[in-house]
Symmetry: C2
Subunit: 243 residues, 2 copies
């Protein structure tokens, strides 16, 4: 009954395995996807989708980083999601989305036209189930972030952010020290964490002074002490292990 979390559809030309696709689907079903796909590129800063805009595609992020964000009347904004390679964009069955999607770095998408994709979903229930699983994953992530936004201190937010990058970044297992691209400005990080860019800068440097992290460039963090970083997140240790 329980589908494992799979990343095992490797379509031709894409260097990633699309998370949306179900391993239970047979070859014919998967090749149906090949025939409806196309690629689109966006450069850093470009808006991929505006809130309320009609959705013509669902897509998989192939390279780069993109952000989902929401804005208040007076311009305050909050990032509500971060898309890394293999993440799925789009809402089958919805005509529009409730947030903006922006390219944080240069981005390539592998797009599937919505209506054939939805027809394929009708025909292959496993695919629908897979998308449901992805939505539930995202929901769990969103709820973790609600805890962060509502209750964590600035220091805990920063530590959690870096710990998340370590966890999600494609990296060689076993290494205690990892160098990770931030791919975001201090301002964008602040938007993600519900802080200001000054506070982000101050706490980055505090963690650096303590020897927990190090900056090679301003764009890359090296985690020197993963255990200290995890303690600084404020999360239950059990969760840390589980993740």
């Amino acid at each position: 009954m329980t589908l494992p979390i799979l990343r095992d559809f490797k379509c031709s030309h894409c260097p990633i395995r699309h998370r949306a696709v179900c391993s239970h689907c047979d070859a014919d079903e998967l090749s149906a996807l090949e025939s409806i796909k196309s690629y689109r590129s966006f450069s850093a800063g470009e808006t991929i989708l505006w809130r309320g805009e009609p959705l013509e595609y669902v897509a998989s992020l192939v390279t780069g980083v993109a952000a989902l964000s929401k804005t208040l009347e007076d311009g305050r904004t909050q990032m509500v999601g971060l898309l890394l390679p293999s993440d799925f964009i789009g809402r089958p069955g919805r005509d529009e989305i409730e947030f903006d999607v922006t390219a944080t770095t240069d981005v390539t998408l592998c797009c599937f036209a919505r209506s054939p994709f939805e027809q394929l979903m009708q025909a292959t229930p496993h695919l629908t189930q897979r998308i449901m699983e992805l939505a539930l994953d995202e929901l769990d992530a969103a709820r973790d972030w609600m805890l962060l936004l509502g209750r964590k201190t600035a220091r805990e937010k920063i530590a959690t952010f870096i710990e998340m990058l370590v966890r999600r970044a494609p990296s060689e297992a076993g290494t205690n020290t990892s160098v990770i691209p931030l791919s975001m400005t201090r301002d964008q990080i602040a938007n993600y964490l519900g802080l200001t860019l000054e506070t982000v800068s101050r706490h980055f440097n505090a963690l650096k002074k303590e020897g927990v992290i190090e900056f090679t460039d301003r764009k890359f963090v090296a985690v020197k002490n993963l255990k200290a970083l995890r303690i600084a997140t404020g999360d239950d240790t059990d969760i840390q292990v589980a993740l």
Copy 2:
């Protein structure tokens, strides 16, 4: 392709229509649900599900209010969801959940044993699609709440909370003034909004002084000026109308 948001499965004995159920399913499929259901009751304050506990049921909330919440190592907690009648509890395809579910008031659940429910999902793709839609709805709600937690002032949080109650409470349409049960203590509201109970109390009374709301009892709000309340939420007016 797009299924409308439906609330139209009325199973016998339940005074609500279960949101999980799809209107495209035929009578046989729906009666299969009848045969696997059972009822469970919880009194206010009881924990319905602990984080990490194995999930034996999926359920629909029939009466009362329940809360989803997450806790940090040192005890700080954040509510990450509020369940009102007709809301769905459970994660088909998951063995456990990442948060606690607690009865805020006395609660009745209509439970469906997980494994037959999941078998039914396999057999009736529409049901899977419906659950996916619910997950996407919850995801949208979670993201709205992320904006609230990350960027709104205490006043805006309180106004948004009351506005949400107005929107979600079953009420006669057209009335400009509505009396709504809070069903939560100041402390629980504070947990939902990422505030302290004192701040909740102060801003409730500020809005009261301004004539925007009124308290009959401490447990019921009457909205006297819905327009002023909506302005106080800080949201884009477009969204307000759309909701």
